[in-house]
């Protein structure tokens, strides 16, 4: 018995067989089986679309090209948007918060109290800490410093997440899932905050950092899963 052409069998995934072909499929077990095999191939292929993988691109490579292209605003007034709305008071507030946060973190890491001791004159203490804090000549300079700090923080966190094997020793699938769940809750809270204050730079920064970390954790979790079980949402 001659068999149906392979390309016809491959077409049956989307097209119904003709009456003659149906009669052949009813009589020929091999062709009927091949028809099932092509369906399986189509199912496997469709499952591919849900897969995620490691990016081909890196931000370190993309960034210079985007700056040269004017996509990233590098402070020279070049950006994609024709209307560039800034909120100077918000930017200033963010800069103050960053400085204050930096001072507190510095004192904390140095083992000092976050608050001045009672016997120390407050004015003198403030003078010392303000002298050691960065000063900005303009809002643009503070804005740049803020963006740089966020970028450095995100890059360092991503780098550590990828390469710090000492801290990853305890990264079991369960602990990664726990972190993912925590990041998900953080994302929800910050997302709600963003709805209330959509232009707040501090909330925006934290929200974006959380999103980035969540995606990185999701990818990390996928390294534990078999290929047929790709996790694209949580």
């Amino acid at each position: 018995m001659s068999h149906l052409p392979t390309e016809r069998l491959a077409a049956f995934v989307n097209e119904p067989p003709s009456a003659t072909e149906m009669a052949h499929l009813a009589a020929c077990a091999e062709c009927a089986r091949e028809r099932v095999m092509y369906r399986q191939l189509a199912e496997l292929s469709a499952g591919e679309s849900a897969r995620i993988g490691m990016p081909l691109t890196s931000w370190e490579k993309l960034r210079p090209a985007l700056i040269a292209d004017g996509v990233i605003d590098d402070g020279r007034g070049m950006s994609l948007g024709s209307r560039h709305v800034r909120r100077p008071w918000l930017q200033a507030a963010a800069a103050v918060l960053l400085i204050a946060g930096g001072i507190m973190a510095g004192r904390r890491s140095a083992g000092a109290s976050l608050f001045p001791p009672n016997e120390t004159p407050v004015a003198a203490n403030n003078a010392t800490t303000i002298d050691s804090a960065p000063k900005f000549a303009s809002l643009a300079a503070a804005r740049d410093a803020q963006a740089q700090s966020q970028l450095v923080y995100q890059s360092a966190t991503a780098f550590l997440a990828e390469r710090d094997t000492a801290s990853r020793a305890s990264d079991s699938p369960a602990s990664v899932r726990t972190r993912l769940a925590a990041l998900d809750r953080t994302r929800q809270v910050l997302g709600a905050a963003l709805n209330d204050a959509p232009y707040d730079p501090v909330i925006n920064g934290q929200y974006l950092t959380t999103l980035g970390q969540r995606e990185a954790t999701l990818r990390q979790l996928n390294t534990f899963a078999p290929a047929s079980m790709r996790i694209t949402s949580y």
Binding site: A11, M37, G47, P55, L56, T57, K61, A147, Y207, A227
Partner: protein
């Protein structure tokens, strides 16, 4: 997604953190589309993916939010990749013979075996057949959409797809037949008919 539209607004204004957030979120999918269409040339795929992202960010002000950002960016990725492949003459209508002797894929990485097998096998198709197969069977495009993208007829798209499936059926016989053996009780011998 409302939060994403806020991120996009900030990205359009040149905010690097927002641009990076969009890239972080969508690169795993977008870059994979590029890799699938390019096939087995990782350096070329990386170059095209870089161009794709620059194009996505350049075009960002034209994004109106009519569709999801991922869908919009995916469309740009497909367009840009196919254009790049045309420039490198990899979308010629010449079918490359499949070397069946090298068709089998060693199952040494069980975890990603299925996905890698399909990707590896598709990389052995001719560029045109691979593009049609990936767009139709993996990405879910219709033949009419593929015809528009590739500048061919929808009949030509169907013909390429069926040829691609027939070749992949042979290349992935170890995988598909193994599934069949598992699903229909072990012990029965299955041999693909020799056409």
């Amino acid at each position: 997604m409302e939060q994403e539209s806020l991120i996009i607004r900030r990205a359009i204004s040149g905010d690097e953190v927002a641009l990076r957030a969009l890239w972080t979120r969508h690169a795993p999918h977008i870059d994979l589309v590029v890799r699938r269409l390019v096939g087995g040339d990782p350096d070329l795929a990386a170059d095209i993916a870089q161009e794709v992202w620059i194009q996505i960010f350049r075009a960002l002000p034209s994004y109106r939010g009519d569709s999801q950002f991922s869908t919009w960016a995916h469309r740009i990725a497909v367009n840009r990749t196919l254009n790049a492949l045309r420039k490198t003459r990899r979308l010629a209508n010449i079918e490359t013979d499949v070397n069946e002797d090298t068709a089998s894929v060693e199952p040494d990485h069980e975890r990603t075996f299925v996905a890698e097998s399909i990707e590896n096998a598709a990389a052995r198709l001719s560029p045109g057949a691979r593009a049609v197969f990936m767009l139709h069977d993996v990405e879910g495009y219709t033949h009419e959409e593929i015809a528009d993208e590739l500048g061919i007829t929808s009949g030509g798209s169907k013909s390429q797809l069926f040829k691609a499936r027939a070749k992949l059926r042979k290349l992935l016989a170890h995988l598909i037949d193994a599934n069949d053996v598992r699903s229909s009780n072990e012990g029965t011998e299955h041999v693909a008919p020799a056409y």
